[in-house]
């Protein structure tokens, strides 16, 4: 990818972030945001800008990038354009652990993000162990994911059946968003996301090799099992950290890499970068709309994505079918 393309995408990211920061919704107007940034503004305005709006934008950028790159890593790794963090059971794993945590420490919201993160990562480890026991092929990874994911889901149902008060509103639990974002969750997740994004980007050339299949990749001097495991682990860390911050936002990890692939044909370095930027921009826009359209209430980002995501998936399937000529 050319230097200019990197510059342009960074610029788009910055402009979206600026719009997102400045867009007034009745509480603080654009000029007041400027005042705050320049050190002025009332105490109330400062709280809104520095403790609510900026953490939200940071969270949207970080989780948008994390989920999209996570999807990109999985799709290339497993050579399946319909793969996304959800198929690894990451969402259900995180959901299960948040529920377990809530049963043991109810009303202590502070630790929720750590529980979600642990859930995502531990479930991925379980999948990894199961898959590597069965050859670590792409199919065994996907099937292990489906199996473990179903296991988590049934466990979730058991908990909800036994302790219905744990999840007052199951739909809200599954539709992630940033309305009840706590700055401490951002402080926990962003330090996980940023280094993993950098690592994944540095190791991008081996992802390019891995996508060619086990035989070709092995012949080009890659330890296929080790690298496949590493990228799955990266994907789990990224989406686990994102889920811990914003709850379950499905489809983002599926849509963004596919859209990127439609416009960009090239190696993983560029692909990952574009996923980062467009995932961030996309989630920021969803969040911007979600918090302004029905102010003082909010539409969760997860809802937007589900509305866009399901038809997108159908369209992808049809497109794929056509290309196969079936």
């Amino acid at each position: 990818m050319k230097k200019r393309a990197y510059m342009v995408s960074c610029l788009i990211l910055l402009v979206t972030a600026a719009i997102s920061l400045l867009a007034g919704n009745g509480s603080v107007s654009s000029s007041e945001v400027f005042d705050c940034l320049l050190g002025g503004g009332t105490a109330l305005q400062k709280v809104i800008v520095f403790q609510i709006r900026i953490p939200r934008i940071v969270a949207a950028v970080a989780s948008g990038a994390a989920l999209s790159v996570s999807g990109y890593l999985l799709q290339n790794n497993l050579n399946n354009t319909l793969a996304s963090p959800g198929i690894l059971g990451i969402n259900n794993g995180a959901g299960l652990f948040v529920l377990l945590y809530a049963c043991i420490f109810p009303y202590r919201y502070g630790g929720k993000c750590i529980a979600a993160f642990l859930g995502a990562v531990l479930v991925t480890m379980a999948i990894y162990v199961l898959a590597s026991g069965t050859g670590m092929s792409k199919t065994s990874v996907v099937l292990s994911g489906v199996a473990i994911s179903a296991f988590c889901l049934s466990f979730i149902d058991v908990i909800i059946a036994l302790k219905p008060e744990t999840v007052a509103d199951r739909a809200a639990f599954q539709l992630g968003g940033f309305a009840s974002l706590s700055p401490s969750a951002v402080l926990f997740a962003v330090p996980v996301i940023v280094p993993v994004l950098i690592l994944a980007w540095l190791f991008a050339p081996s992802l390019d090799i891995l996508v060619m299949g086990d035989e070709t990749a092995g012949a080009l001097g890659i330890n296929v099992r080790r690298y496949r495991g590493a990228f799955i682990f990266f994907a789990a860390l990224l989406s686990g950290a994102a889920v811990s911050m914003c709850g379950i936002i499905g489809f983002l990890g599926l849509i963004v890499p596919n859209v990127v692939r439609m416009f960009y044909k090239g190696n993983s370095r560029g692909g990952q970068f574009l996923c980062m930027v467009s995932g961030s921009v996309f989630l920021m826009i969803c969040d911007l709309l979600g918090r302004n359209l029905v102010f003082p209430y909010e539409i969760p980002c997860g809802l937007f994505l589900s509305i866009i995501g399901a038809p997108f998936m159908v369209w992808m399937l049809i497109k794929k079918r056509k290309r196969l000529g079936a």
């Binding site: 603080v28 008060e165 999840v167 509103d169 809200a172 209430y297 909010e298």
Partner: protein, 296 residues
């Protein structure tokens, strides 16, 4: 063979129809039934309590209602309130089934029960007025006007006396009412019964909007800066009490609110403000008054 089956089926259907007719007819003569003790099933704690407050007894109820005060010990446990089998209900030969209108599982159960001829009453209590209406209906059925006097008229008097103490022309204070579960908190709007209590005491809910959406924006909360934050726990109350405050103390945006700074965030009693208080409605008003105005 198939002829035989259809014959049996016809006889069975006819028998069932007869049985159904029999019950709905017997439900008509209410006065008579009240004296002999009506066979009633109420599902859920709240419904069981209403019927008992009206002086009735129950042949069956759901598991959550088993420790309702005044429940006759021979009432049968029918299990979880949303998963009661129609067969178990029919076996008790009820003459009246009391269910929640707004609970989809109970609504479906009620409709099925009506089809096999069991009379059903659906309750839907959003505020005090609904309580009065249902109690009127129930005490009429049981014929216990004395209990209507005790559990409704006297309660209404207590409420009126609390409301009359509210200082007039005072600057209205604002509040935010959070219903918290173990994983999530939700701002209640004015359709919640406890909001009605605080509104009648001269307070103003910042979650006024009749929006279809439920998630109140944090920016909106900070901008509105309510004078009080009331918290109603769902589920385990003692654990809620233990970790109460962490919700506000762990987050800098919440800390900026004057209600938090002034210590005006209050954990409300779940029995008065989380579940419909029924005959304790007066106490709920008194408690709320004490919280807001500091004196009895």
């Amino acid at each position: 063979m198939s002829k035989k089956i259809s014959y049996v089926a016809m006889v069975l259907t006819f028998a069932m129809l007869l049985a159904g007719c029999g019950k709905s007819v017997s439900a008509l003569s209410e006065k008579e039934q009240a004296e002999t003790g009506k066979r009633v099933i109420a599902l859920s704690e709240s419904n069981a309590e209403l019927w008992i407050l009206a002086g009735g007894t129950l042949v069956g109820t759901s598991e959550d209602a088993l420790d309702v005060e005044g429940l006759n010990p021979d009432a049968q446990n029918l299990g979880d309130m949303d998963h009661v089998s129609l067969e178990a209900i029919a076996a008790l030969e009820p003459e009246l089934l009391i269910l929640f209108e707004t609970d989809p599982a109970q609504k479906a159960l009620g409709e099925a029960a009506q089809e096999i001829g069991i009379p059903v009453v659906f309750t839907n209590i959003d505020g005090y007025a609904d309580y009065e209406k249902v109690m009127k209906e129930f005490t009429d059925l049981t014929g216990r006007e004395d209990l209507y006097e005790k559990n409704v008229v006297q309660v209404r008097d207590r409420i009126d006396s609390v409301v009359s103490k509210v200082p007039e022309n005072a600057e209205p204070k604002t509040y935010l009412l959070l219903h918290v579960s173990a994983t999530k908190s939700k701002a209640e709007k004015n359709d919640y019964f406890a909001s009605e209590i605080f509104n009648n005491l001269g307070l103003e809910n910042i979650a006024l909007d009749e929006s279809a959406f439920n998630e109140l924006s944090m920016e909106a909360i900070v901008t509105a800066d309510p004078d009080y934050i009331f918290v109603v726990p769902r589920g385990d109350e003692t654990k809620a009490r233990e970790s109460f405050g962490e919700i506000f103390e762990s987050d800098s945006a919440w800390q900026s609110l004057s209600a938090v700074k002034n210590g005006r965030y209050i954990l409300l009693d779940k029995d008065l403000f989380g579940l419909k208080p029924n005959d304790h409605w007066g106490e709920a008003y008194e408690e709320a008054y004490k919280i807001v105005y500091g004196v009895e």
